[in-house]
Subunit: 474 residues, 2 copies
């Protein structure tokens, strides 16, 4: 193996091109320049910044203007560029630029989750063909090392579950709603004002960003190619202050979770179409989690990822999930590793998708549910509601009933039976009440059928929200 | 680079020797055998178990007896062994066996913290010379990926601090003492009975195990060779139930911490003998930490490591720090990576010690202290004690005084002044009282001088304990 050492010679620099000079790119450029001596020692050869591709080159960005260019394609194609850092974001032109770099055998470090969630296969094939490196630690959970642990540290284990809070904007909003009791729209406005939400917050609040990260995490955890289209997705825009209030009453808070789960082939399924193979469920939605769950205390713009593996047990990784400097830290770790490979030979592990596990549809995925209803405040309502749950095979764990005006709690069949003495034809005594039902595990489809049936009941005014419950022992 | 791919051909197996078949070795052997198909896909070639070195080969260990050998040296030397997994522990013969494997160009995966803490330099030199790999994720914090994140993920950042709970035995004992109020010896006996402490618990309870891990973490974090002898070490055997009680009264708990810290060169020191270089402080001791600190909720046999880096900010890694299966998970991740390198070419990052930062002596390291005293229960005591602290330049943060019988709390100089009305010659009214002083930051040497002076005071019966306080914002 010694013949492949020192491809470049100890004084031959590794040429680096940076594409994009937003929050992350600015920090990457700063670190390359300020930490040059340390980086040289860690790589074995100097990193030399060849250029930075920007949209407008005539803006003062605090670096030598000769380094700036608007022609990203020409920069990537330069003979003296060995390594390309893509921190511009978006699908185009990032996809073509990364493809061109990899095809030319140049190493690529990217933080682009949206691109990876849809095009890892294409990019990994280009990297494989030319024996180039594709690194992307910064694409998931910012500074938190989670991509490398999944690819490398857990490569000798069997991952069963990855659950993460991987979007800082939504976590900031939900933490603030929980703390202040304010409603969603007011809290979003505040997050925008503070710079925690973008002017168009759709990608964050509707869960697209988290879904892209879930696709990447699931691909790595299960050695299966998972794209954003495979991820079931719900955002947080329908979460109300009432949801957080009823969650609190149950000792829970609400978090937007990215869940990647191995669904073991049941013992009765070996003859099924899937041939007894495990399936995987990948989903993003807001869910109640108990306050004693380790993810419940991850607040504000922080991220955390819990990994459960057969031998390792439960691991948790916690830190800053976004921001220029934290994301640049993850990018630079990849840059040093990619540059070392250029210098010493060796390669990043390529895409591993041999397992090809099928995706379990969301309708098959059992979770627990927290169902919030407005109901007529009269006797017999609880019986009628309980009957619909039972009819659809959804088992109820707890019920909480409040009179809208008085806040009286009526629980269990005894109280309902007592009221029934007034007779079935009794008229409503108040305008309405709230009924909160928490179920045991049920499939999405069974729950959807139950909710549809509940809406038909004369005594149910409306089903105001259905939010899942995760992280309980059951 | 393509010429160095596929050294072995896709059907040529990677031969593996396992040294030791205790808790970890048994799990490693099980995983290699049970997960053969997955491992083959992840490596690119099959892993073939060539043999397992044990002390006694005539014991049924549930595997093919032909695999067992008592001649570890012959096993390592076999031509068909490409990769050696050392999970026997101890310095000898592990040191010679690993040395022989590396010298022969074989990759080594080890979980041996005691060996690494003293001999990484020697082993890394052997690996470097023959271009072999030396991996050791399992040596620190069991299943928790922390070695690889420090070496790779944070290679483009500047680590300022690593603080960890890295010994499960002591954490189990301290957690149990905190919960039950039992004393140290009773709790140690219970831990031994439950299998959380070894028959001779010295390495754990006196902090030797944690110190070895601290040396490894500090070496990686600061790119400086740090050995166990460089680590200041105190164990938990002097921690009393009274310490935990007074800690609780301050909103704290007690944890055995491994602390690796960059001590920046002060602005006034550029002309000093150190030439203005940063220094590093590496130390292991029990310390009070506030209950709101993320490490305070790490209980029982769990481990956690907090890393603070300039750009990444604060990261935390949490999981199972010991046990057969969790440690084997970390070993197997390294095995897959080392085997991939054998197959595809490429090498693990070697030792990085270019920074050569000097070790700051413990006497120079400022921390806060929690000082517990038995004092005469009479007026003027607080003044005398406060005077000694002031005389040695140690600033007091809070004082808590309790009459031994009544539990009366007397705080601050006003209360003392009030009692002083009785005059300086007043006789003791009760047999004794307890005084707890928490200081601001002070050096070890200033504190030691203060404690010596306190012991000379007529009104101080004894200084019953001095425990550091870490993790406060100040």
């Amino acid at each position: 193996m010694t013949d492949q050492e020192h491809h470049f010679g100890t004084d031959h620099p590794i040429g680096v091109a940076v594409l994009g000079m937003g929050n992350v790119g600015t920090e990457v450029v700063r670190i390359i320049q300020e930490q040059a001596q340390d980086l040289r020692q860690r790589v074995g050869a100097p990193l030399m910044l060849r250029g930075v591709a920007v949209r407008r080159a005539d803006v003062d960005r605090g670096i030598d203007p000769a380094l700036l260019t608007t022609d990203a394609h020409a920069l990537v194609a330069r003979d003296d560029v060995d390594l390309v850092v893509e921190v511009m974001g978006g699908i185009d032109p990032a996809r073509a630029l990364i493809g061109a770099a990899l095809t030319a055998g140049k190493s690529v470090v990217t933080a682009n989750k949206a691109l990876l969630a849809d095009y890892t296969g294409e990019l990994a094939a280009a990297a494989e063909h030319s024996r180039a490196d594709l690194y992307f630690e910064a694409a998931v959970a910012g500074a938190i090392p989670v991509v490398r642990p999944l690819i490398q540290s857990l490569s000798g284990d069997r991952v069963n579950r990855v659950v993460g809070i991987v979007n800082g904007t939504t976590n900031f909003i939900l933490s603030a709603m929980d703390e202040t009791g304010a409603d969603y729209h007011a809290t979003l406005a505040e997050a925008t004002r503070l710079g925690y939400a973008e002017a168009d917050p759709t990608a964050d609040v509707e869960g697209f960003d988290a879904a892209a990260k879930a696709a990447i995490l699931a691909s790595l955890a299960f050695h299966t190619r998972v794209t954003a289209a495979d991820v079931y997705r719900e955002g947080i825009s329908r979460i109300t202050s009432e949801d957080l209030e009823t969650a609190a009453a149950l000792g829970c808070t609400v978090k937007l979770l990215a869940i990647c789960e191995r669904v073991p082939a049941g013992p009765g399924e070996p003859g099924s179409a899937q041939g007894g193979k495990d399936r995987i469920s990948v989903r993003v939605y807001p869910a109640l989690i108990p306050r004693k769950h380790p993810l419940s205390s991850v607040n504000g713009a922080f991220n955390a990822v819990v990994v459960e593996a057969e031998n390792a047990g439960r691991l948790m990784f916690y830190g800053q999930g976004a921001g220029g400097a934290p994301t640049a830290s993850a990018v630079m770790g990849d840059v040093v590793m990619a540059a070392r490979n250029k210098f010493f030979g060796g390669r990043a592990p390529g895409e591993s998708v041999y397992a090809e596990l099928p995706i379990a549809p969301i309708g098959d995925t059992p979770t627990r549910y927290h169902v919030n209803m407005k109901v007529a405040d009269r006797t017999g309502v609880l019986q009628a509601v309980a009957g619909e749950f039972a009819k659809h095979g959804v088992s109820i764990s707890t019920v909480r009933q409040e009179g809208q005006d008085t806040g009286v709690i009526e629980s269990g069949p005894e109280a309902a039976a007592e009221r029934n003495h007034a007779g079935p034809s009794s008229t409503p005594r108040r305008q309405g009440a709230r009924l909160v039902v928490v179920t045991h595990h049920a499939t999405e489809s069974a729950l959807a059928d139950t909710v549809a049936a509940l809406a038909e009941l004369e005594s149910v005014t409306s089903v105001t929200s259905v939010v899942r419950l995760e992280g309980t022992e059951e």
